[in-house]
């Protein structure tokens, strides 16, 4: 599965990518579009990315995570227009044991949010739109 895609995310494909007979524990994370953000009703949103840098950063995160824990990890982020409930990001991490699977999966999503140049513009029920700024006061996590 590609790191960035306009198509719906396929978590089963990511899990299959990291599966192997010696890896008994797989932890996965799915981030979906919520119907609210900072108390405003969200109708839909649009993700955009700085493609070459985002793909390089995601590849770096995968490589770093696989060096730090004995795991295989896979990650994909969707771009374009998404509706409430659509998955925007998917991560899968598989290891022999669940400790490293959970730790690696969590690490990938934290680093992705911290380092990967992706932006989202939300459209609200009241007709307004806004770029989401997680660093702004009062912003939701």
């Amino acid at each position: 599965m590609r790191l960035l895609t306009q198509d719906p995310l396929d978590l089963a494909a990511l899990i299959a990518d990291v599966a192997s007979p010696e890896r008994g524990g797989t932890c996965a994370f799915l981030g979906a579009v919520r119907d609210h953000h900072a108390d405003r009703a969200v109708l839909e949103l649009e993700y955009s990315a700085y493609g070459p840098m985002a793909e390089a950063a995601m590849a770096d995160i995968v490589a770093e995570t696989e060096r730090r824990w004995p795991v295989r990890v896979a990650v994909a982020h969707r771009l374009g227009r998404l509706a409430v409930g659509d998955a925007a990001v998917a991560v899968a991490a598989a290891g022999a044991h669940r400790d490293e699977a959970f730790a690696a999966c969590r690490h990938v999503i934290e680093e992705l949010k911290r380092r990967v140049p992706i932006w989202k513009r939300e459209r609200y029920a009241d007709g307004t739109e806004a770029w989401v700024d997680p660093t702004a006061a009062g912003a939701a996590r």
Binding site: M53, A54, A56, K113, P117, I118, W119
Partner: protein, 92 residues
């Protein structure tokens, strides 16, 4: 899907990429900014502001990248480099 095109003066300028809210503020997703010898990312930001009034609203120390890798404001920029200014990240 954005294509990065290079203008005639790429031997003396850097390509500046702008995204999301910053592209709206500047009114363009890509501009050329002249770079003198010894320039750094901060100089490119100054050059951008000089040519594009909307860039006045960019913060003094935005996230930035050089050639698709995260960079610091005092990192060197040479003609032909691709410099990007990045609004607060909101992926995931």
């Amino acid at each position: 899907s954005r294509r990065i095109s290079f203008s005639m003066d790429s031997r003396s300028s850097a390509t500046v990429l702008l995204f999301a809210r910053y592209a709206e503020l500047v009114g363009a997703e890509q501009v050329q900014v002249r770079v003198a010898p010894g320039s750094d990312v901060r100089d490119v930001l100054q050059g951008l502001r000089a040519g594009h009034p909307g860039a006045a609203e960019l913060p003094d120390a935005p996230l930035c990248a050089v050639n698709h890798r995260q960079a610091r404001l005092d990192d060197a920029v040479r003609p032909g480099d691709v410099v990007a200014f990045l609004p607060p990240l909101a992926g995931g």
